[in-house]
Each structure stands twice: as C-alpha cells, then as structure tokens.
C-alpha cells in the first residue's frame, strides 16, 4: 500500500499526497472540483458512483450541485476517508464510501447491487487517482459492465451464454460485442428485440 500524507494549503484545507504526488489542486481544490462537476453535463441516473475519493472536493461539489443525487465513492486508500469526513461533515449521510482493495471484491460489495439494479452512472476524477490509475481504471470498467469478468453480473437477468463472448485482451466491451452473444443465447424474444434496436443505434 502506498504512503498517504496530508498538507495544509493557504485556505487551511488538507490536501492529500500519494508518494509525494498531490491528489488535488494545492492552490484551489474547490474550483478544481467545481470545474469537474460543470464539465459533466446532465447526470442520467439518480445514483452515481465516483471512482476515487482523493481530497473529496470534487465529491462535495457534486453533492452541492444536485442535492437529490445519491453518491457512492469507491476508494482503496482508507487513510483518505477520515480526513474527508472531518473536512465535509455535512456529507456524512449523503456520501457513501466503499473501500475496495482488490478489483474483484467489488462484485461482493453491497452497493454493487444498486449499480446493477439502477444501471448507475459512473464518474472518474482522474486527478485524484495518483498511483492507483490502473486499479481504478479496472474498477471503472467493472462498474459500467465493460469487462469480461463483470458481464456475468450485469447480464445475470438475461441468462446469456457468456462462453460465446469473444473479447480481445485489454479491450473494453461495447454493446456491439454483446449483440452476437444475445442472438446466440436462449432469451425471451422481446428482450432480444431491444438489443437489436440498440444494435441499430450503434451502426
């Protein structure tokens, strides 16, 4: 596990560092978080998952801009959590933080069921990923259902024949990869038909 340290900036905010790399803007983390939130556009689901807690300013900005939004943050560096809670006590009930150390642990986490049932939108704040870029990328892809390992969870209700899925290594899945598998699976015709509609939309 990498070393996490904190440093106070000119506004007395605590900025985390991982192996000497800042996980937020030192000068203005609040503005950085706001800028990120404004770049997101409309959020299509009532529940979102943010990959990476970092300093938490981006999460606070997100919570601030949409008071109804349910937010879950996935983080592997537990040391960041108490500092976030102390800096943003008002978000105690708004923001759920799930600690995931190994990417496959994700599938056992409680919030993962919400992700599956609500088709939750997943956000990444790469500025706070520090040394965890590879791990968080994998988490991100699992949460959106774009990895081979995660397909069986996301498509569980359809009973698709996963063995028919061909995937090139390191390639993220798209609906185009899934459609031939759907056609080859025993599935209710109406559901197949909806996948065919989606297939036409990506042509």
């Amino acid at each position: 596990m990498s070393m996490i340290t904190f440093s106070e900036n000119h506004e007395s905010s605590l900025i985390p560092f991982e192996e000497g790399e800042a996980l937020a803007s030192l000068r203005d983390p609040r503005a950085e978080g706001l800028k990120w939130v404004y770049s997101l556009g409309t959020i299509p689901t009532p529940h979102v998952v943010v990959v990476g807690l970092g300093s938490g300013f981006h999460v606070a900005a997100l919570a601030d801009i949409d008071p109804e939004l349910q937010i879950t943050v996935v983080e592997s560096r537990e040391a960041l959590i108490p500092v976030f809670r102390s800096q943003f006590p008002e978000l105690e009930d708004r923001v759920n933080i799930a600690v995931v150390q190994e990417d496959h642990d994700l599938f056992k986490a409680d919030f993962f069921q919400d992700v599956l049932s609500q088709r939750s939108y997943v956000l990444s704040f790469r500025e706070c990923w520090g040394q965890q870029t590879s791990f968080f990328s994998q988490v991100f892809a699992h949460l959106t259902g774009r990895t081979l390992e995660s397909v069986k969870y996301h498509f569980e209700e359809f009973g698709i024949n996963i063995k028919a899925l061909y995937l090139e290594p390191n390639k993220l899945l798209s609906i185009k990869d899934i459609i031939p598998v759907v056609e080859a699976s025993a599935m209710v015709e109406e559901k197949k038909q909806i996948f065919r509609i989606l297939g036409e939309l990506v042509k």
Partner: protein
Amino acid sequence: MKILVLSLLRLGDIIQQAPLLKGLREKHPEAEIHLLLNRQFASVEKVLEGAVDRYIYFDREALQKGLGESSYNILWSYTQVEKLVGELNQESYDVAINLTHNKLSAYLMGVIQASQKRGLYQEEGRFKGLSNRWLRYFNDRFSGSQKSLFHYVELLGKAFDIPVQTPLAASRKKNKLVLLQCLTSDSKKNWGLERYFDLKRTIEVSLVDYEVCVLGASFERETLLKVFSEKDLLICDLPEARKHLQNADLLVTGDTSIKHMAAQVGTPIVEIAVGSSDPLKTGAYSSQAVIIQGEVACAPCSHSQACSQNSHLCAEDVTVEKVFAAVWDQLSGEKILERNLFQTLERAVWSLYLDKARSDVEPFYREAIAELLSKVSLTALNAVLPSWEQQSLGYRSWLENAKKVLPAREVLAAKRSFQSSDVSELILCAQDILKSKKDEAGYFQTFVEALLSRFSQPVQIYDRVHAALMEIEELLTIREAFIRHLQSLSTEGAYYAKGIGQLSIGGFEEAGKGLQRDLENAEL
C-alpha cells in the same frame, strides 16, 4: 380507436409526412393518434396542426450517448428502451403504423403490442408486414438507390390506404417576396452561397419590385453572414419560418425540411436538387414545385459517401441563369411543363399492377384510362403510343429470352454447389438489360436483383428468378392490355369524329376478334 404512428427519420421526413398524418386524421376523425418521433425534432409539434393528439419521444441522441460513452452502464440504454416499450404497451394500441421503414423501427414495431400492425415489423426473427404490393414496391425502391415512379408521400398513402391530398395553391396576397433557403443538412446538397447571392442580385435587378430574403436557423447565421448582409437574413425557428413562407410568393431552396413546409402552405417552390437529393423520393410533394437537377453522370450520389469529384459538378451544372428562368416562370405564372408523358404512362401501368391484391384479379383499366385522360390529351397520347408499344415489344423479348435460358428447377436442385456459370446465360440477359438503359421504370429490377443475391442452395436462385419473371409477366401483360385499351380509345375517337358512333371494344361476335390494331395488317 388508438393509433400509433412511428416516424423515426429526420425533420424533413416528418414534415413531409404531415399530409399523411392529416389524411389519417380525416379518415379516423374520432381516433386518438399518437406519434413516436425522435426527441431532437420535438419542434415539429408546432407545425403539425392538430393531426396528432400526443407526441411520444424516442431519445435517439441520449440512447446513442449511453451506448457510446464509457461512464454509462452498458445496459443503461437497454433500460431506457425497455421503459419506453413498457409505456407504449400500456396504451393498448389498436393500430400501429410504421412510416419509417428501417430496421430500427421494424424491431421497435416487433415489441409494440397492437391489434393490427401495418408496415415493416420484425417478429420471430423474420421481417414481416409487407402486406400489399405498394408496400413491397416502397421497400424495393426506397431501401436502395433504385428509381421510384412514385413520390414518397404518394407511395406511403397508397401503401397504408391513407387519403393524401396534394396541397393546393393557396390564395395569397402578393407580397412580392422571394425567399431563399440556401443551406441544407449536408454540404453535398448545397448549391453554393455565392450562386444564391448571384441569384438574389439577378432577381432584384430584373424584378425590381420583388424583395429577396434569406431564410436560416440561428445556427446558420454565421455561415450566411459570410456572403449575405444582416439585413438580408430572416433568422427564425420553424413556426416563424412557416409564417414567412405563407407570406412569400416563392421559395428557392435545396433539399431541405423548409421546402416540405412550403409545399404544405401552398407556396410555389423552385428546388435545386444536387448531391444526393433524389426529387422523386424526397422532392416537395406539391403541384407548384419546379425541380432543377444537375445533369451529370454521378448524380444523385449516395447519401453516406462524400462527393467523389474534384469539384461539385452537379452544383456547377445548375447555372444561376437556369434557376432564374424557373423563378421567372413561377412568378409570372407560366405553365409548368407537363410531367413527362412516358412517366405518366408508366405510373398508370404500375398503379394498375400495385393496386391488385393478387395476380388473378383483373386490373381497373377503365378507371386508369379516365384518370390518365384527366392529365393528358388524347392527341398527346396518340403521339407517344407507337413508341411506347415498341418498348413493350422489347421488354417482351427480354422476358421470353430470360424464361428460355433459366435452367429447369430439377437441374438446379440436382446440383450440390452453385456456380455463376450455371446461370451464365441469365447473367448475360441481365447485362443486356442493364447496358441498354431502356428499363427506366424498373420492370426488370427484381430479376436483376435476384441474380445479384447470395444463395446457399442452387435451387433458391431458380425460385427467386422464377418469381421475378412471373411478376414481370404480369406487369407486361397489364402494359400490353393497357396499350390495347388506349389504342381502342383513339380508334373510337376517330370513328366518333366521322360520326359512326361507338363500337364495341370487345369486337363483333361474328367477326370473332376485337378492334385492336393488327400490326401486320392495317385493314380492319
């Protein structure tokens, strides 16, 4: 009665379909009509005037975003479509009509529960719904680049038995206003801003009491300002554009949604069809539209491909002088040139064929002739009949040749694998037809397409070609009978002129033959 209409194409198509929706409303005044359309074209609500009771949106852009952006769950778009289908099925529609006719709409129609489905839909892994000949013709001609004898709106009206009126000339106060709609959705279809500028100047210099303004949407302003000045522009949304069109004496336009709106409000149109614009398929459905096309070999080109030429040849071929001449004719009320007579005759033959529910039903020749004579004079008909008959002989000879060289079904069925050499003579026959360029009405299109199709079993090619030849046989029989009826008519006309009176078309019982002309012997 609850009717759902699917119209999932672009803005121009939806506006173009307005006469169909109005026709549907006239046919079913008590019905609740719902229209499913792409959300991005929601603005069309303002111009469909009471034809539709409820608009339901298919959020194509959001769904595509959901499928394309990595932040979305891979199944988010699936859930949205499933939700939409659930909402539609809550309505328990009596009839669902697919005006869109593509795979996406066919799949959607497949999951919509309606007592009656009309138009293309997919069920149990098969495309269905081409329930009448008009629909099949529409499917054949509009799914590719083949020419159609009928306008898109006319065809859909016939296919779905919806009465469609060609918009009549509106009685309008003369405002001496000419509108230019210079930009289209595709740069290939643009005639060119400089040419429009020259046209504007030419109109203003030659017709000094006319004002010329340039229509445009707000996002087009910047582009238009590169050539026109701010005071020339009428930047507006769809409802405002409709008002401007109602006040205008003429619209000069490319292939745009605005021209369909002009057609509906009865504004005369000069359409400049360049690039992939195909006037027969997407031209304005109006008796007051004049269409000018670039006469170059590559036009109309494919929608999806960029212009393959070094310069925009089709646009260059349409000169400002040519467009101004059409503007002059339209503004001065000069009679618009009669539609090509050959095409009118071909349309009559194909209508007789397409109106038939089955091959053994006798076509309605009498009605077809009456309709034809309401459009063209007997003298004009007499002038073209001999060459038209000559064409029939040519078609008949192609058909007989194709029948002769089609291998027997048993021969093909006995083959384990299929090679093109097995039907080489048929292929040569098809090549002759294509090279001659004489089959403009597409009598042999299904035959040629049958030979281009892929088959897993050799016998399938026989079945497909045989079915195509049967269709051609039926069409040619109608064409020949129609010619005979027209010839009899002109003969009767000649007798009437001499005061002899009406003679039986069926002939005299004692003579044993009719009054049809014998080409070998000129004597009656």
